[in-house]
């Protein structure tokens, strides 16, 4: 007994050390690629091909100026934003209506219907890329942001419905009941009552869907053929395909990468809790 009493503090101390070692290792592994990208995008191209490696080259914004002068980067940024915002809006609207129906209305077989909707999440996006290409072509939506929005909103809908159902179910039904008795119409119930109380859920899923759309590569890469609908994710693949005297223009590739990363990391740092709640909300409940 006495021996254990003495041994215990040292055991705990060792654990503490282990925790901090793991913590530092974890931080390094997570942040080194991000540091490498930031360092390379803010450096002169010539500083990237010197040995020994320069860890902190003189910072410059020259790469971004090069990008602006060589590719229609402003248009790509605008397309990315438009695509992400409209996808977020459409997927939230469509999912919110469906989630309300599943959460509140007793309908024979609604469980099976929901199950089918959720099962469709398992379909790999790339597996339908060829028919989607043809459908968008027939609808004259190829190479249009609206076409991309339609397709990605649909892909994001099942998960959004799933998470929103649990958020709507948390709202006591009595509130709506009271409104119905007071003679409120359905749009009024949605706008005045449900919208404010389910706002946390909508914000959460809005953030997640925005990030998903901003990061999406498959659809713009497949369906965009001109700068009028190409997004930043396509732009980075095009910059990669270009050559510079030093081989690949890594300073430019990393500059596009940084431009794509800053907004999403900013959103994540701003609303870490909301995002985690949404990501885990679906899986845990």
């Amino acid at each position: 007994m006495v021996k254990e009493e003495i041994a215990r503090p040292s055991l705990i101390k060792w654990n503490r050390v282990a925790i901090y070692v793991c913590f530092i290792l974890f931080t390094l592994i997570v942040l080194v690629p991000v540091y490498w990208m930031a360092r390379s995008s803010l450096a002169n191209a010539s500083d990237l091909t010197k040995l020994p490696l320069i860890y902190f080259p003189t910072p410059t914004l020259r790469n971004f100026q090069t990008l602006i002068s060589q590719i229609p980067i402003n248009q790509y940024v605008r397309n990315s934003l438009l695509f992400a915002v409209s996808t977020t809006f459409v997927s939230l609207l469509v999912s919110f209506l469906a989630a309300y129906a599943f959460a509140r209305i007793q309908f024979p077989g609604s469980g099976v219907i929901l199950w089918i909707l959720l099962l469709s999440m398992a379909l790999p996006d790339v597996g339908t890329i060829v028919p989607l290409y043809r459908i968008l072509k027939d609808l004259h939506l190829l190479d249009k942001i609206s076409g991309l929005t339609l397709v990605l909103s649909s892909t994001l809908t099942p998960f959004t419905v799933w998470v929103l159902i649990s958020f709507i179910k948390q709202v006591p039904y009595e509130i709506e009941e009271a409104a119905i008795i007071d003679g409120a119409s359905l749009p009024q119930i949605f706008l005045r009552i449900l919208l404010p109380v389910t706002m946390p859920g909508l914000v959460t899923m809005g953030l997640i869907n925005f990030i998903n759309a901003w990061n999406n590569l498959l659809y713009p890469l497949s369906f965009s053929t001109s700068p009028s609908s190409k997004t930043l994710s396509v732009a980075i693949t095009e910059v990669f395909a270009g050559f510079s005297p030093y081989g690949k223009p890594w300073e430019l590739i990393m500059a596009v990468g940084l431009a794509m990363t800053i907004p999403v990391v900013f959103l994540v740092l701003l609303s870490q809790r909301a995002i985690v709640r949404g990501l885990t909300g679906g899986a845990i409940k």
Binding site: R16, I19, Y20, C22, F23, F26, T27, V30, V32, P33, V34, W36, M37, S40, L51, V94, L97, A98, A101, F102, I105, L117, S120, L123, P124, V126, G127, T128, I129, V130, P131, L132, Y133, R134, I135, L150, V151, T155, T157, W214, N215, L217, L218, S222, I236, F240, K248, W250, I253, G257, M260, T261, V264, V268, L269, Q272, V276, L279, T280, I284
Partner: protein, 315 residues
């Protein structure tokens, strides 16, 4: 009110069906509302998921090719071609290796990160915040960042390895090292997300179970294996299943890191579909690969559900 009136006029056949089951007018209106509310979502899913899947299956029996300008029904002829296709065979092999390997590693690393984030120490909040960065970073950007980080001449990692051991790492030349790197990059990207799910799961384990086992004299190691692991097993399998299915259909990281090379050593089925279908316009052949991918998803789903039912624990 107006809405209800116009419906009464229009839906006579429906009304007859409903009245047979003696459903009140109020209920009928709620049913109508249900259908109305879910219809936009189902319209989207039917036009961009259900119908395209059926078309994919149909196209897999054709030689539709926009370049050669062929479009005939050729039955199963694409399938033997596919089985002998060098690219598809390589991609099938690596898809399975990648998906299984990275999912298992993801679960293990994710659980380790979750255990770390579950501890209270200076930096917990910081660690939890940066844990979201790999998830949030665009996958294609992560792909290029790793490729540059691992560049044999000016990449940081080969540079460090060279300084420490004198070994010159040339990763993207050899199939094996390229494959290992692609798997590890996937773990970097996805394990943190797993960690958040595990963290939520760990925090849901009732504390009194631990207290009871402490009274019984179980040490930390035993508590972990006897209590924590069995309780989060269903969650682990669910997450593993999702992860398997999702990663079967994605190629962003491969596209950025290796573009399937060297040769087809790190190519995946998803990348082959994209190449054959969107780059070479071999719609029929690409659809055939899609069907193989769908079959893989089906197998994973069935095995996964079976595993899930076997380990279900309630607490």
């Amino acid at each position: 009110m107006q809405k209800g009136d116009s419906q009464q006029v229009n839906d006579r056949p429906l009304k007859a069906v409903f009245s047979r089951f003696a459903i009140s007018k109020n209920m009928r209106r709620r049913y109508m509302l249900f259908i109305l509310l879910i219809s936009p979502a189902f319209f989207l899913r039917i036009t961009t998921a259900a119908y395209p899947i059926l078309q994919t299956i149909y196209l897999s029996f054709t030689n539709l090719n926009l370049i050669k300008n062929t479009n005939e029904f050729i039955g199963l002829q694409n399938y033997p071609t596919l089985a002998n296709d060098f690219g598809v065979r390589g991609a099938l092999y690596f898809t399975i290796l990648l998906v299984v390997g990275s999912t298992l590693l993801d679960l293990a690393v994710g659980l380790l990160i979750a255990l770390l984030l579950n501890e209270r120490f200076r930096g917990t909040t910081f660690a939890r915040t940066i844990n979201l960065i790999p998830w949030a970073i665009p996958t294609i950007v992560a792909g290029y960042a790793f490729r540059w980080l691992l560049d044999d001449q000016f990449g940081l990692i080969p540079y460090w390895v060279n300084m420490l051991s004198g070994v010159r790492l040339v990763i993207f030349i050899s199939p094996l090292s390229a494959q290992i790197v692609v798997i590890l990059a996937h773990v970097w990207k996805d394990a943190p997300f797993m960690a958040f799910v595990f963290l939520a799961g760990l925090q849901g384990v009732p504390l009194d179970l631990y207290d009871a086992s402490k009274v019984d004299g179980a040490n930390a190691w035993n508590r972990f294996w006897r209590i924590t692991v069995p309780l989060i097993m269903p969650l682990t399998i669910t997450m593993g299943l999702f992860r398997l299915v999702w990663s079967l259909g994605s190629f962003d990281l491969v596209y950025g890191l290796t573009q399937g090379g060297p040769g087809v050593a790190t190519s995946v089925l998803a990348l082959q579909i994209f190449r054959e279908g969107i780059m070479f316009f071999k719609f029929g052949f690409a659809s055939t690969i899609s069907v193989v991918l769908l079959i893989l998803v089906g197998i994973v789903g069935i095995v996964g559900l079976w595993l899930f039912r076997k380990t279900e624990v309630t607490f």
